[in-house]
Amino acid sequence: APPAATDVPVNLSADHVEGTQPNTLKATGDVHIVKGDEEYYADWADYDDPSQHIKAGDKVRMEKNGAVMTGRDLDYFIDRAEGTMQDPEYQFAGGVGRGDAVDMLFNGQNKYRFNSGRFTTCPVQTDDWYIHAQHLDIDYNINKGEATNAWLEFKGTPILYMPWMNFPLDDGRQTGFLSPALAINNRNGIDVTLPFYWNIAPNYDATIYPRYFGKRGLMVGAEFRYLQPNYAGTIRADYLDDKEADAGRYDLYFKHAQKLADRLSLSLDIEKVSDDNYFNDFGDRAAVASQTNLPRQGILTYAGDGWSSSLNWLHYQTLQNATHTNDIPYALSPQLTFSTAPKLIDGVQTNFSAEFTNFTSETKTNGYRTWVYPSVSMPFIASYGFVTPKIGVHATNYQLSSPNGDDMGSQNRVLPIMSVDSGLVFERDLNIKDEGFVQTLEPRVYYLYIPYKNQSNLPNFDSAQTDFSYSQLFSENRYTGNDRINDANEITLALTSRLFETDTGIERLRATVGQRFYFSSPQVSLDSTSLPETNKSDLLVSLGGQVWRNLNASYDLQYDLQQKSTGYQSVGLNWAPGEQKVLNVRYVLNRTVAIEQLDVSGQWPVSQNWYALGHVNYSLLTADKKPLDTLLGLEYNGGCWGLRLAAQRYVTSDGGNSNTYYFLLQLGALGGLGTNPVSTLRQAIPGYTDIFPTK
């Protein structure tokens, strides 16, 4: 029996119709057939309603939910959406794609095959790029395009031949070749990556990325990701038989997080590379800068009711560099921590934290270190201020041994820690250009007493000097970690003023001035050197916030009044007046790490579709007086395609440089063609916004 007629009437109009029952029509003369939202125009058309079959010619135009196809000789079954058309020119709804072909097949709802055809996402009259293919399959049900014997034409010149390629019609995840990445680098020569994404299952996917280096050969990398309700993780490995270095080079990366039980969770973070120069050659700037110590870590954490505990194994692979040898850090084998804050008495905060660590090292003193730190504080908080007396005892025990295991005895240290933190809050209402603000004035006084105990005979496993910054003003210990507890008989005075928007309570500006006064000069130092005699700390000034509509500024100063010298000074300006318009300037002087730098970065439209971007990090130190990291780029937004050119040069740990030229041609929804340096740009230029229309 003929297929059930769908419930939509068919209307046919023409100059002349010959019909036979049941409803088989032969129409000529400007024929126009309408069925639901489908319309067909032709010079002549034979329509057989029972079988929903249209044969139309010579010139035919077909419109269906926004898509328009014009061509010759349509032979089509409306209900099954199957048929053929000759010489089609097609345009899909919403400008998601158009083109033409020798002939086309309709393979069901929203599925088309174009033979020897062209496809582009550019609007009509802009023929900037086309995919030519012997067969082009477009399926808008799963938003995937596939082309065989395809070649890419850009502005009239063929630029890439692919025996098989697929491309997303939107940005969903689907299996296939991602956009090839192209770069040229002084250390590796040509650097071409052709990633293949494999969408195995909704919660598993893999990316295989063969990466060819002109000077070094083919590196094969693979990344496998898994996501389950209780665990998720990533495994990545790269291997290269390096022609230039004449050695096998690899990197391994394994990150895993798992909820073992209701309150017990595990996290693993294992990274390893084959040699010290690996990131200099194959990493990007951030990798070079941060990858000095590669962690191999496992942490088990348990969250109880009102208490928590963790067990932590941590070893490092330390990458040495030519300019100076890096100290191999201690390993935690393992470290057990425990902390709780039981509510014993109303209004009284009791805290108890404890830690046992087995510090191991091949070269330095090993040891078991156990400390406990119970403390009690009675915060009194009122609307106009607060007073928080706190008293605690920090007790530590060391069982030391030399690297090869012979006993070096034990050490103990018990220190009471007493502090009184107090502050007042003054407020007033303020109107600036008829916008209501609340300005606060918050004086704060913090007294800390810790008796002196000579700790130069204690090992230093995990203590280091911290910056004398705003947050350090009110902390109990200027050293991080637990091997050095500074003696203190000091009072810290600070005055903070903040500006809040009355209606929203959002903080717009904050200014703080603070200084610490020592009743007795601090003596505990990290090593055995003695600290200079002093009765007051540096002066600390910190300002920051939104100073104008879209201008943020910050200023931080740490000034030594005695020596009239600046320990730390940084000035930051960030102006982001609009989309793709941002300028950042930062000057920083930091004696602790001996840097003085000017950092300028920005993104700005330079003409109708061209955007310039750049980042320069210039070291002002007399020894350097050179840029450490320079990035310059140009981006063109051609509507349905985009071009990204960027050049980056940064210093590497082996005393050399890495110069990379990125090239990315992004064709509409096809993803990019060439290295996609967006992540590098976003890191280098705070406030950078991507300019490409991701359809």
Partner: protein, 153 residues
Amino acid sequence: CGFHLRGKGDTAGFAYPQVYVEGGGGTAEQLRSYLPLLDGIKVSKTPVENATAKVVIIGEKVDNIVLTINSSGQATEYKVVLTVSFSAFRPDATALMTDQKVTLSRSYSYDPNNPIAMNGESDRLVRDMQQDAVQLILRRINAVAARDKANAQ
């Protein structure tokens, strides 16, 4: 010059007598331990209908970004950024504010020879920012609640 000690009614304390804090992470923990210290504020374990305001800490993200490098390309300063997103609901469960963001950052000098200490410093700065975030969140809730009440009259 117009400054006065902050009074009870203004933006101090917490806008509603009973509150429930939902969500995990350091900021939520610090909020749960700070609120009971305010006089007249009761922190309940479960959201009691029509009596308890609710503060939901939707998410908390910590990013450690390389801020500056030295001449051999090694990180000399890191910036740790804390982003807390939260919503607040009145006792009658209607939304006072949704998907608000508080972003704070601190920079610290980085010593490549002592990564364990650096992790410790980063954690300490995160805890300090979480305390700051608690105050900023309460400021916002109290300000919007105060305007709420003013409009209601």
